[in-house]
């Protein structure tokens, strides 16, 4: 089975004067068709930068090493025109802040129509009907009213649903979701995660799901083919089948993260924190420990 998206030795760094800051280090990953890769990491671990770099939308000034292939075609290094053919049509993005990813000065319908026009051959009228249908797909109630509204007139959850609908306009085979539920309150966020889970079953799209929340990662990555990667200081310290990583972690950092997760099993006041030596250790290359399961070793 060839991977839908494949990255090898991906690194991202920024240069500030004479100092260089490594944000992503030696990340390699494969995403199969119809599967989820949940990238789990604390804030500042470089997971958002990884997500952006995978689709070629890293911020200006980022220095990128390594290669990325989409469906066997190299996308990095790639010319802007080639990247544009991919974006929207093959790869979609859902970002953390739905307020910022929507144009506050255009109606929802106008924004959907603009993207639909790029991806589908439809006349004006058909586009309007299609926009309504796309909103129905993400379970927005009264879509024929919502198309006439501006983003500022919608709730946070609604905005994120609109943003998902926009990302799906070109029927992409891969969706990169960057903390799509973090800016929302818990219940609304969980519904958005469930929506993405449903959409991947109905549309067959794969998802790279970036989150800092173990519960959210477990909620989206629950099929046998799903994977979880744990990120620390820009590096994958563990990567493997979701069920394995989240229940039988092989890496000390993953284990301590899981122990820090509040749950009914852990008595109150016993919440563990990640020990500092784990965080600051110099983690070396990955070693395969089982089928599809890699773990970092401490450098000698």
């Amino acid at each position: 089975m060839t991977a839908l998206l494949q990255a090898r030795d991906l690194g991202v760094s920024f240069r500030y004067g004479t100092r260089t800051s490594q944000v992503v280090r030696d990340v390699s990953l494969d995403i199969a068709e119809r599967s989820v890769l949940a990238v789990l990491g604390e804030s500042g671990s470089g997971k958002t930068m990884l997500a952006r770099t995978l689709i070629g939308l890293e911020p200006a000034g980022a220095e990128v090493r390594g290669s990325v292939e989409f469906a066997g075609r190299p996308t990095r290094p790639a010319r802007p025109a080639a990247r544009r053919r991919l974006l929207g049509r093959e790869i979609g993005l859902v970002s953390q802040d739905p307020a910022a990813s929507l144009d506050a000065m255009r109606t929802v319908g106008a924004q959907l129509a603009e993207v639909l026009r790029r991806h589908e051959r439809l006349d004006r009228r058909a586009r309007r009907d299609e926009a309504v249908r796309r909103l129905e797909q993400v379970h927005i109630r009264h879509p024929e009213q919502v198309v006439r509204k501006y983003p500022s007139e919608l709730s946070g959850g609604m905005r994120q649903r609109v943003s998902i609908a926009l990302a799906l306009c070109g029927r992409p085979r891969l969706l990169v979701a960057d903390e799509p539920s973090s800016a929302l309150d818990a219940i609304v966020g969980a519904r958005v995660v469930d929506l993405l889970d449903e959409l991947r079953r109905t549309t067959g799209t794969s998802i790279v799901f970036v989150t800092h929340d173990i519960a959210v990662a477990a909620r989206i990555a629950h099929e046998p083919q799903d994977r979880v990667a744990v990120m620390l200081h820009g590096r994958f310290v563990e990567q493997g089948p979701a069920a394995e990583v989240l229940t039988r972690p092989r890496h000390a950092y993953t284990a301590s993260l899981l122990a820090g997760e509040p749950s009914a099993a852990i008595p109150r006041g016993k919440l563990a924190t990640v020990p500092r030596e784990l965080r600051d250790a110099d983690w070396g290359p990955l070693r395969q420990v089982a089928d599809h399961h890699w773990v970092c070793e401490e450098a000698a």
Binding site: I55, L57, S101, R106, Y150, S163, V176
Partner: protein, 315 residues
């Protein structure tokens, strides 16, 4: 919804205008020297002065005088120019034409400068960005008359591309344009830099970068992405632009002097020497009215394009 916003801004503008008129009136009345002295000369008797004071209504209470003055102004009667010995209104009208042409052309230049510089300063490579930032800083603070003098020497004397001054209105549009281009450029430089700075700030907003990434990820073409970003910058850039157009309408005193253009600024200067207060009052009030008017229009456009302002106004 928009109508309510317009109504509120209209009321505010009228209050500002009344305040401006009061300020002009008070300052002129507080100015040292008796206007009758200027009119009658030093040899006039006290009796003659008293007659003239009654004639001009100067013996009435200050507030009554202000009321009379406002009523006259609203009827188009700005009084009689002392130095030109004719009604102020037609004198203003003649100068207004030149000022409007100059400021109109300068507005075009300022918008061009603003768009180009504002966009350059977020481009890679870094050297280009740095050059744009330095240009903006220099244009922003350079006194217009110094820049105008340098332009005059370089482009009219050293390499005579443009005529050195004056205004010829009856020789066709190309001659008119050749006389107005250089002063308009000199006038447009600081406002252009100001517009560039506001555009740059608006485009540098983290939310804007986020929107750009989201649009790109949806496959929206680069030109369309740029259109989205600029439209989102409009509410921030429009008020600044309005302010700058207002400044160009009323602050061209030095430029008009250097290039010998008979606009409102030159008129204000002509009124200074002979202490022609009716004329000066007229110029200043007209400029204030235009200034407030332009700000009003800019604000209404900003509200019209931004659904967030429309909504806020409705509340």
């Amino acid at each position: 919804m928009l109508a309510r916003h317009i109504a509120r801004r209209t009321a505010e503008s009228l209050v500002s205008l009344a305040g401006a008129a009061l300020l002009v009136f008070v300052v002129v009345r507080a100015a040292p020297g008796d206007p009758t002295g200027n009119l009658l000369g030093p040899l006039a008797t006290d009796e003659q002065r008293a007659v003239l004071r009654a004639d001009l209504g100067l013996d009435k209470p200050l507030l009554t005088q202000f009321g009379i003055w406002i009523r006259n102004v609203l009827h188009g009667d700005f009084g009689t120019s002392i130095s030109q010995n004719r009604p102020v209104l037609p004198v203003l009208g003649e100068a207004l034409g030149t000022t409007l042409m100059l400021a109109g052309l300068a507005t075009v230049f300022a918008l061009l400068i603003g768009l180009v510089l504002g966009n350059l300063s977020r481009r890679r490579p870094r050297a280009l960005r740095g050059a744009a930032d330095v240009t903006e800083a220099v244009l922003l603070s350079a006194p217009q008359y110094t820049v105008a003098l340098i332009l005059l020497i370089v482009l009219c004397v050293t390499i005579p591309v443009f005529p050195a001054g004056g205004l010829i209105t009856d020789a066709g549009p190309s001659v008119l344009l050749s006389h107005l281009t250089l002063p308009a450029i000199a006038l447009a430089l600081p406002p252009g830099a100001m517009i560039a700075r506001s555009l740059k700030t608006a485009l540098a907003d983290p939310g804007v970068a986020e929107l750009a990434a989201a649009l790109q990820a949806r496959g929206v073409a680069p030109a369309a992405v740029a259109a989205h970003l600029h439209r989102n910058a409009l509410p921030a850039v429009l008020p600044v632009t309005g302010l700058q157009i207002g400044t160009m309408l009323g602050g061209a005193v030095f430029i008009e002097t250097i290039f010998s253009l008979p606009g409102l600024g030159s008129l204000a200067l002509q009124a200074i020497g002979p202490r022609d207060y009716p004329l000066l009052q007229g110029v200043v009030l007209l400029v204030a009215a235009m200034f407030i008017g332009v700000m009003f229009v800019a604000d209404v456009i900003a509200a019209a394009v931004d659904p967030r302002i429309r909504k806020a106004a409705a509340r």
